[in-house]
Symmetry: C4
Subunit: 331 residues, 4 copies
């Protein structure tokens, strides 16, 4: 199926079921509901409009989207978001996503899952990164990190932007069980595992610098789809200064309203190594199960490859800000 058909089919299917409770319709689009006025969810995808692409055609060639992360090769830098739940969308949703992700040569990220669910996902053979919630109780975190390690995750991490739980509209959730961590506390987590440890939910240069010092092997620049605080910056607003601090010392992942290959290209041009997508893979899942997931990843990857080719970037490492025009005015 084509992109538009997949989205339309997903929305039709979701209307037949109890539509996802954490999503709202905005200007005809199904958006995840963010905190308070929901500004972030509305702003996230519009932010991409500030950037256009130049061409570099002569001497260009069909680009490769391959990427090596933590010693493994992937076919695409377009990865799954750290998914949880989704049982209202499909049966065994995470296994289906994992199957589609594997099929596309991409990487799976997991959020809140039981040990059983995690095992099932990893049994598909998909390379997986597990993000553990920042529970007040460090023992709970250590237990889950260990489970992930034992189940065969390729890397682990925690979403530091969930220190104070999340908010949808006016409703807080999980604020009690979560809690903020010091540098020292997070260092203990990093040191508790042999696996690369990733800090998810960095949205400022200070946390990026601290993560590096603490021993992180990756960060995810994210506003968590607006559920942390209303008016959280768009990740691309802070990405360039984070890239300047981090350089090539660890991979920088990014998420936040990514819909198309052009969005992915913009993030890569501004300093990201790879992009995570939650909403879009859920749409793929809702449209057509594991095959829909795979189709979406393949389509977005093909869109990215085409833009890379057209802008004269033979591979991901050749992408930088020179491919962009920046628009410092309202669109």
């Amino acid at each position: 199926m084509e992109y538009g058909d997949l989205i339309r089919r997903a929305e039709a299917n979701l209307k037949d079921k109890n539509i996802l409770k954490s999503y709202v319709m905005n200007e005809g689009t199904l958006l995840r509901e963010g905190a308070e006025t929901n500004f972030v969810a509305r702003f996230n995808s519009r932010y991409f409009d500030r950037f256009g692409f130049k061409f570099r055609m002569i001497d260009s060639q069909e680009a490769s989207t391959e990427i090596t992360l933590y010693g493994k090769k992937f076919a695409t830098p377009f990865l799954s978001g750290a998914l949880s739940g989704l049982t209202d969308v499909a049966e065994k949703p995470l296994v289906k996503v994992a199957t589609g992700v594997k099929e596309s040569g991409s990487m799976m990220w997991l959020g809140i899952v039981s040990a059983d669910q995690q095992r099932e996902v990893l049994a598909t053979g998909v390379p997986t990164i597990r993000i553990v919630k920042p529970y007040q109780d460090p023992e709970m975190m250590l237990k889950e990190l260990k489970e992930a390690e034992e189940a065969g995750a390729m890397a682990v991490g925690t979403d530091i932007d969930f220190f104070y739980g999340g908010k949808r509209g006016d409703r807080l959730f999980a604020p009690k069980a979560m809690g903020p961590k010091t540098s020292q506390e997070t260092r203990k987590l990093v040191e508790a595992t042999q696996l690369p440890f990733i800090f998810k939910g960095v949205l400022g240069v200070e946390d990026a610098r601290k993560a590096l010092e603490i021993g992180a092997r990756g960060i995810v620049v994210s506003n968590h789809a607006g559920i942390v605080i209303d008016y959280a910056a768009h990740p691309l607003e802070v990405l360039p200064e984070i890239k300047e601090v981090i350089g090539d010392r660890m991979p920088i992942f990014v998420d936040g309203g990514f819909r198309r290959g052009s969005d992915v290209m913009k993030a890569l041009a501004l300093g990201a190594d790879a992009v995570l997508a939650g909403w879009l893979l859920v749409m793929g899942l809702a449209a057509n199960g594991s095959e829909g997931v795979s189709e979406i990843i393949n389509i977005v990857t093909a869109e990215l490859r085409r833009i890379m080719s057209v802008t004269g970037c033979k591979n991901l490492s050749e992408i930088n800000q020179t491919v962009l025009v920046k628009r410092d005015y309202g669109i």
Copy 2:
């Protein structure tokens, strides 16, 4: 009740009554009507969209919103506006607001009130600042300042932005009884009371500097909800340069279309010490009397606290412009 529920209930209740005469509906929102084209009222809340927040999670902690003003501790920097009238909203409206404000550990500001109303409000025990109108006749001002002092106000002041009265649409009001004052005339007012004296309605660096020289102990940066002149600047447009002149020599209050904790955070980041809200407390009052007022203050304070925590500000004094991204383009 949650924020959205309170606002909806307030609007429903206000429709049942004779809706507040000085308010108009704009894009589904009840706005105070400002001068002429009403640009200020439409622009006031939209201005906040230019700012987003970065995160500073690692080493953050649950923030404190406590503030000490004029030797008294308050639970929140989110204070009542200088209220007057409101008898079309509730019986004994100012006492109800005062009760709610006190309950929330906030501060009450009074505008046009009789000596009796003032006594009733102060009898609730809420710390109160009384703003006296800038009458042409200085004796009237001195009389009201004295009444406020005797009734137990913690501070007094005058709204210098009402020198020429106000305007709603094409209708001037109170232009006769009011009149402009010189530095010397205002100095006499400042010297006539033992209480801290506050200049309300500063919207430019010259008046801020003069207020300081004259002996002011605080200023309110304000465009008076647009009733002074059409196209009055948004307070946040002039706040940074005022802060630069005033420094920490006296508290800087600000008002102007504040709706949520995120708005308050932006003002504090740009140099304000505390924020005044009129419209929002009237909504609380209309929704649920003194309890509604208290609920609104508590909700906005909790929103602020959450954003402070997420941005790594342990207390109000740690908030500054580094938490913001600024958007120099149309939103």
Copy 3:
């Protein structure tokens, strides 16, 4: 009547008649139709949104809007546009406008009029400036300049922006009879009269400089309501650099979508000495004849006076850019 009532009554009256042929409705507003896509007419009044006002209240006083131009005192810098025709709006329209303008202590400008019409207007005693069209035939211009001088005009001029006639939508008008002029040709016109000679339709610093060299005693910065070319700049976009060249060596007039006192204040702050209004006076005329014209001028002048007072400008010469905040982003 109040401003809004006058406009509404004017629009109702114009609908009863054959509505003015050169006007179109745009977003509920009656606009003069400009060239091609009509961008100028839509943009003209929106441009004012880029500017807000600061307050300077302390030591301010009720402002004076008086202005002396060419040795005569006027009560207001808000003057009539150079009017022509209007017989579809009222009988003896120019005499009615003149009567209203005189009543308000303002200045009358005339465009295309017969010698008889000019005499009738000047018979009202209103100080009048006559703008003669830039005919291909210089003799026609000299004849009309002489008529104006004899009829008692206080100054004369020509609209250099009509060298190539005008355009409404896709229709050119008067392109044949008009023609471009050299510096030398215009110098002859200037020298042919004892009266101050004004260049109307300057929209760039080159023409302003040439006008000064040629002996002009005034210029009108204007985009002629969009009828010269589509996408003509807004006069306020070029006014500051023109003011820098001209300084105080001759009065700078400006027109272009002026509706309210706040618009006038912005032009004065950016370097204009006085403002011309066509559309608005036509609305006054349509609403209430000469009295409506006078009412409109008085209202706009009162709005201006109020903003001057609030911004601490005691008279017109004290107005400058420091009263403005400039918004470099979409509104």
Copy 4:
């Protein structure tokens, strides 16, 4: 017919037929459908709003729009786009366009055509540039270049932005037969013909510089109406830096959403020598056959001439950025 009438008649006629398959309606306008979200097609014509014009009236004169390109004189710098197909609009569409183009003293560009079609077009006597597709097989290109040379084309070229074919919505077309070329491969094409060789689809300074080095005698700065990639920059966003590199060493053509003389003037002011229009000539063809084409070119040329006159540019070589005001904010 006037401009608006021609467009309306074209749209009516196209609705009677099977409307052009590659066009979509957007906000009441018929737009060519671009890649993916179609951002380019929506953005292309809006980009012109960022620029306004100043006047330079004194000493101006009726301008000449004449231009000499490759040794031939043309009446206008407003040229046809490189057209293909259009058999759903009219019978013998390219001959009709050619006839209209010739009538107006403009230049014809051809895209995908058979040898027969090319002969028919050239038989009209219209000076023609032939753009050959960048086939994977260089022999196919050489064959078509030779055919063009033999048929009497004045210049040839290839659209380098079609190396990877095109995309409408989610549908790729012609991706197989096309292929990217190196500098060396394109140099061979340039050297294979005696005619001036033009690189069409330059959208960045690198390709412009390479084209010059390879021996190009002209470039077309273009985003190909959005069919190459979504979010391709507007040609005017990159034109100034390309002009800086190329200078006067070869003509710079530009296309991208041009509708009116004002759009053309902006491109010329930013460094273009001439403008290509596809959509607009198709509208002329649909409205009134070859006569409609001629009418459209004449109207746009007249609009351009008028703006040149008003801005004091006597001929095309006098046009530069000083005629523009640039708006760095949302419109």
